[in-house]
Assembly symmetry: C2
Homo-oligomer: 362 residues x 2
């Protein structure tokens, strides 16, 4: 059982100091156990949709400060569990802490999003990507936030850790910022494939260490966000995206359940049927039946209500959610949106989505 004393990382290994999990619907679903309802959580549930979050964010002074402050990160991680009664917490953090730990720091521009002042253009940039790093030192703040949250959750719901998929991280490092076409990244994959593979090797190595450290710190599930998977043609994604996710899956298969979210990569879904991941996330443009067909019965599918549905009135949100739940057809599913919740959605609308899922019996 947890104590009030501060908890070090090492003695949290395998969660042996923390409470038994009370809400097991997510873990049971991931582990192939029968459940009476679908689990539900929401990408970006810890975020601007909550005024409580915005208050903590203001206190922190900046997004990056919030990410780097374990106590505040823990606080905002637990807010949606308190407020929405979701079936999982996901640690508040950012996928870009990994490239930062590898020597490529980013700044957050309020209207533009993350910007990397130093990007990857050539082999000497790739050589500067540090992969022989001590994760528990450089990313201590994330691991500490996980330990603290795990303790504070006290077994109410499982805690999800996460990282960006290697190709999405590389894409950020090449583009330096968001993009409409991502043509810089796609150009480099075409023109300098060896350089890209070298960078992906390094990012994958660090990501595996990082996810293992998260598990060690208390994460009970991990998710890989391949946010930009869908910008690549299938052939390119199958060469530069899938193999690195496969390797991560192999390395974590005897650890905690892994969820992979290759957003938009519907053309490559079949590739994921053979990957060591318990669940695959799909976006709202991917049909449930089609995804099931590609992935087979053995995979849990996570998603995929269009986040914009939450702008509709409560009646319509409920109807659309029920429609999605009906399409799950009693198979293995985790209810979620098809992407992160948009910050200007009314919290009652998000609550309606969560409640509708929780009231629905399989």
């Amino acid at each position: 059982m947890p104590t009030e004393q501060s908890i070090s990382l090492t003695n949290l290994a395998a969660g042996n100091m923390v409470a038994e999990i009370k809400n097991k619907v997510l873990l049971d679903t991931l582990n192939g156990e029968k459940t009476s309802r679908y689990p539900v959580w929401v990408m970006r549930q810890a975020g601007r949709v909550l005024s409580e979050y915005r208050e903590v964010r203001a206190k922190a002074g900046s997004f990056i400060n919030l990410v780097k402050n374990p106590e505040l990160a823990c606080e905002v991680t637990i807010q949606p569990v308190d407020i929405f009664d979701v079936d999982a917490a996901i640690i508040f953090s950012d996928i870009l802490v990994v490239p930062e730990a590898m020597g490529f720091p980013y700044i957050m521009e309020e209207s533009k999003g993350p910007v990397f002042p130093h990007t990857i253009k050539n082999i000497s940039d790739v050589e500067q990507l540090e992969d022989k790093i001590d994760i528990t030192d450089r990313l201590h703040y994330v691991l500490q936030a996980i330990s603290l949250t795990r303790k504070e959750l006290n077994g109410r719901v499982p805690l999800i850790g996460f990282a960006g998929a290697p190709l999405t991280i590389l894409t950020y490092l090449i583009e330096g910022k968001g993009s409409k076409t991502f043509s810089e990244a796609r150009k480099l994959l075409y023109t300098q494939p060896d350089l890209c593979h070298k960078a992906l090797e390094k990012i994958t190595h660090v990501t595996i260490q990082y996810l293992k450290a998260q598990v060690n710190a208390g994460a009970q599930v991990v998710q890989l966000f391949d946010s930009w998977a869908g910008i690549f043609p299938a052939e390119q994604y199958n060469r530069f995206g899938v193999p690195y996710l496969k390797r991560i899956g192999d390395e974590l298969q005897n650890s905690v359940p892994v969820i992979m979210f290759p957003k938009g990569a519907w053309m490559s879904l079949k590739e994921f049927s053979g990957i060591q991941a318990k669940a695959i996330g799909i976006d709202w443009n991917t049909g449930i039946a089609e995804a099931r067909n590609q992935l087979g019965a053995g995979k849990v599918i996570q998603g995929n209500l269009d986040p914009c549905t939450l702008y509709a009135n409560l009646h319509d949100i409920r109807q659309q959610t029920l429609k999605m739940l009906g399409s799950f057809a009693g198979n293995r599913h985790i209810a979620n949106l098809g992407h992160g919740v948009y910050p200007d959605v009314h919290r009652d609308h998000l609550k309606c989505f969560v409640d509708t899922v929780k009231e629905f019996n399989i």
Copy 2:
């Protein structure tokens, strides 16, 4: 045969004053005739990829000035026919001339793209959308550019006219600019569907008049660009996108061949099998076999090489192009990219793509 005297719009009707077309491979393919090779043209072939274009663009002073100057628009339209020997010209213009003609002008910000100072938020905005307009007056400059280009082409290749699809135009009018999530537009479709249908009705009405006027001025094929089709969930696209394209197809079915490009809307491709359009464009994330399966044998499929392929070396471009041509399997196809060519592609690379298609025998 064309004369040197200036040609008015009316006497160009049905092209009766212009030369017989010499290169018929595009029209034959669209009309279901057997051809010995696949036709090829390139979206944005008249554009920044050519230094000759950039010179004319500099002379015009701005993108919008260039669009509004029939002589200069004609000049840049013909450049890629001269330089790349493509099988069609597409009139140099912009899809946003339609909302401008309807009373919503836009400005072009060099780094940001088009911006609408006045956007659609509510019903009074929709009421301000003017649909009882004289196209031949308000869009005279496009029609004149078409007439002039048709004359100058002198039958070398057919001339393609175009317009934006109603939903893409509405999306621009709601967002006011490009967007990563297009959440404003998607929100309005969810929250105020009637308002959106009312706006789409108006835009569709004007678009039909506009395309008919283009045909009257000399366009021998027209393409509808639904650039943002892929941002909508299939159900929403099938309600707000497809029916208006269907109506446009019905109105033009006894006119010239129509190409529709619902970019990214792979989930809705089946809907297009029943639409009066000779050809459907697909982007590079849509598989050729899958598209053929959805559309049936009767449709011409246009596309779909990843524009980033053109960043690779000439050998790889050739191999990738041959691979695409092989996947066409002798069926009815128009070779093109899966999106507009990127401006920083080397022209020799684009030429390599075009040449590879033209040397390939079906």
